[in-house]
């Protein structure tokens, strides 16, 4: 950390915000939720070849334990209320990743039954283009989300009830 190490080699000095941000970004637990073909690619990313676990990313089967939802697929108007319910069940702070052309904009399904982008309903943090995005693209998107979480301001303060968290931005 600092140039001077008055406390010895094994001790670092940092801000509480950074400590909270570091723990949050190193354990993004996404909600297990697949909607269409993109979900297959999301599963491939979670499987051993790409191995999301090494980022501390572990899929959770309950929204109560998740802090990120990857919208992986085509969102139909019939499914939208379900996604909204799941999102509302997730505790704060929470992040949304729109994975694939369908989740970003409706994709090729410019029709009466498909929501033209999940950002019509949820606040999206990271958009990942592609149809479907390769696992590398999803990993890159997740790393962008980690950057964003790392740059959050007042994350410690908001956690103990002082003010609100200010969303970080990535370059």
């Amino acid at each position: 950390m600092g140039v001077e190490n008055p406390l010895g080699e094994n001790i670092i000095t940092t801000s509480l915000d950074k400590l909270v941000n570091w723990s949050r970004k190193s354990s993004i637990w996404p909600m297990t939720f697949g909607l269409a073909c993109c979900a297959i690619e999301m599963m491939a990313t979670g499987a051993s070849h790409n191995d999301l676990d090494r980022f501390g990313i572990i899929f959770r089967a309950s929204p109560r334990q998740s802090d990120c939802i990857i919208i992986a697929g085509t969102v139909t108007k019939k499914m939208l209320p379900v996604i909204k319910t799941v999102y509302e069940q997730m505790p704060e702070p929470k992040w949304v990743i729109a994975m694939g052309a369908c989740a970003c904009s409706g994709g090729v399904f410019d029709t009466y039954s498909v929501v033209q982008g999940i950002d019509e309903a949820l606040p999206v943090d990271v958009y990942i283009p592609g149809c479907p995005p390769r696992p590398e693209a999803l990993l890159f998107g997740l790393m962008k989300l980690q950057d964003k979480i790392w740059n959050d301001k007042n994350s410690f303060g908001s956690a103990v009830g002082l003010g609100t968290r200010i969303d970080g931005f990535t370059a």
């Binding site: 108007k77 019939k78 410019d110 029709t111 009466y112 039954s113």
Partner: protein, 162 residues
């Protein structure tokens, strides 16, 4: 030849007045019948001619192409005889209903709900005629040719001009 098809011969014998048309195309036999006797014909096909499997039931919208707008299509298969048959029946828009085939094949239940949902054809005496694909509060029937592809509340896509 369609004329020599076993089922067609039997149908012509029993329901001569109800048959509108018989076509064979690439080995597929299609019989078009009047909708008033559709259930009698389907029951006969199942019970006497062993067409015991209703593979699919659907409809076609011939908006502006035919006098009677909709055409019901029944795809039948006989497991004992390994034989397929297609039955069609025109339905006019003014009287947009046809008797239900649920009493003949139970699988017609959900298939008819789908046709009702997407085409708006009413199936008389259907035990549970609700929408099956669209939400319950949906307005309109999306597979009708005059339903806007991108939904009624959106400006239609005009290619690169829009």
């Amino acid at each position: 030849m369609a004329e020599n098809n076993r089922a067609v011969l039997k149908l012509k014998e029993k329901f001569a007045a109800s048959i509108i048309d018989v076509v064979e195309f690439r080995g597929e036999v299609t019989v078009t019948v009047k909708k008033d006797s559709i259930i009698d014909i389907l029951t006969f096909l199942k019970q006497s001619l062993q067409y015991n499997l209703l593979t699919d039931l659907t409809a076609v919208d011939y908006l502006g192409k035919k006098e009677e707008r909709f055409m019901m299509v029944y795809q039948l298969y006989s497991i004992p005889n390994k034989d397929r048959l297609r039955i069609k029946s025109p339905v006019a828009e003014a009287d947009c209903s046809i008797p239900t085939a649920t009493k003949v094949w139970a699988t017609a239940n959900w298939l008819e709900r789908e046709v009702y949902d997407l085409f708006g054809i009413i199936f008389d005496k259907h035990p549970d005629l609700r929408r099956i694909l669209m939400t319950d509060d949906w307005v309109g029937h999306p597979l009708r040719k005059d339903y806007p592809l991108q939904g009624p509340d959106r400006e239609p896509y005009k290619g690169r001009l829009s």
